[in-house]
Homo-oligomer: 204 residues x 2
């Protein structure tokens, strides 16, 4: 069974997105990250910025998110919170993209949404805090918040989002086929390992 | 920095031990599993069966384990529980084995004990329950307990042991450099991936 779809989940600052893009290029697979946001925007009418923020970091119990349920979109959200509605639409888009052919999908609980497809390889990229702190400052610059606080905030919200929608603990090995420490192994080695596993699967 | 030491942690029934043995053979590294038990037996005077059972599955709060502290080995255990004493001795043996040269060490919190050594690659092998149930029945036969219960019991006790001695959640990706799903990827592919990563590290 060849791996036609690769989902890549990643700790903030681990370089998981770069690994995902590189592996898509090496394999000639479609790459869905911002593209997925655009597709969901088209389906839902939500602004891309809103989807990008809430699609992976949705609060699970915000009262505000319920407040506009039914107002302006009567019936459409069926009494769901905006976060739940967004997840439902995002899930639909992910299932649809997976059906269209070879691709790499970044984040957004895609590992859980596609967990029963045998042609899918689920990957988690992580790295230690020191490596990630250094990397986010180099790439995104300094902010008022300390780099450590930025990691903790973003990962904490991804974990809460994942727990809410999947019931599982984010970052647990058992949810992925491969988990790789990009800080220790290096991003290039992560790409090489993934490429060789996917290529071997396609040759079988 | 070449990986001279490989620690392999594994879910019960995942074939992690077979992967560990195979990678040691491929690389010509020493393999420590039962051998480690023997070394700890020599150091402590505990029976090998006791070490094998308690070295990975020690209860963290058994009253009985305290009961014989000081009786028969006055002063030796220094008021520690038998489980804590065993961990301390096991830790000492693992640090010593790591100093002796290239090796693969199975289980026993070796990933945590050696986490600060940069020449060490930490691996976790897991697989889904259906794969593991089938595998343990094939290898170890049926018992009165259901295969699922056997998995849950053994993994639960490994997780409790790991939490007690490391403070970390067992099976969390962040504690390992690579986590591999042997059921999905196949044991042979796990060995190939590990071999290529270690060999590449040694060539640098």
């Amino acid at each position: 069974m060849g791996y036609r779809i690769i989902t890549v989940s990643r700790q903030f600052g681990s370089g998981g997105r770069s690994v995902a893009r590189a592996i898509a290029e090496r394999l000639g697979y479609a790459y869905y990250d911002k593209e997925l946001v655009k597709a969901v925007a088209l389906e839902t009418g939500f602004a891309p910025e809103y989807i990008e923020e809430k699609g992976e970091y949705a609060p699970s119990n915000s009262r505000l998110s319920y407040a506009f349920t039914g107002s302006g979109m009567p019936g459409v959200m069926n009494g769901m919170s905006a976060a739940d509605y967004l997840y439902t639409m995002q899930r639909r888009v992910i299932l649809d993209l997976a059906d269209r052919g070879d691709c790499v999908i970044v984040g957004r609980c895609a590992d859980h949404i596609l967990k029963d497809r045998p042609d899918t390889l689920h990957v988690f990229i992580h790295a230690d805090d020191a490596y990630r702190c250094q990397r986010i400052v180099r790439l995104y610059g300094e902010t008022e918040k300390s780099p450590q606080k930025r990691l903790d905030d973003k990962d904490g919200r991804r974990a809460a989002n994942y727990k809410h929608f999947t019931g599982e603990d984010w970052g647990m090995s058992r949810n992925y086929d491969l988990s790789l420490n990009s800080g220790k192994l290096g991003e290039a080695a992560c790409v090489t390992v993934l490429e060789s596993i996917v290529k071997a699967s396609l040759e079988q």
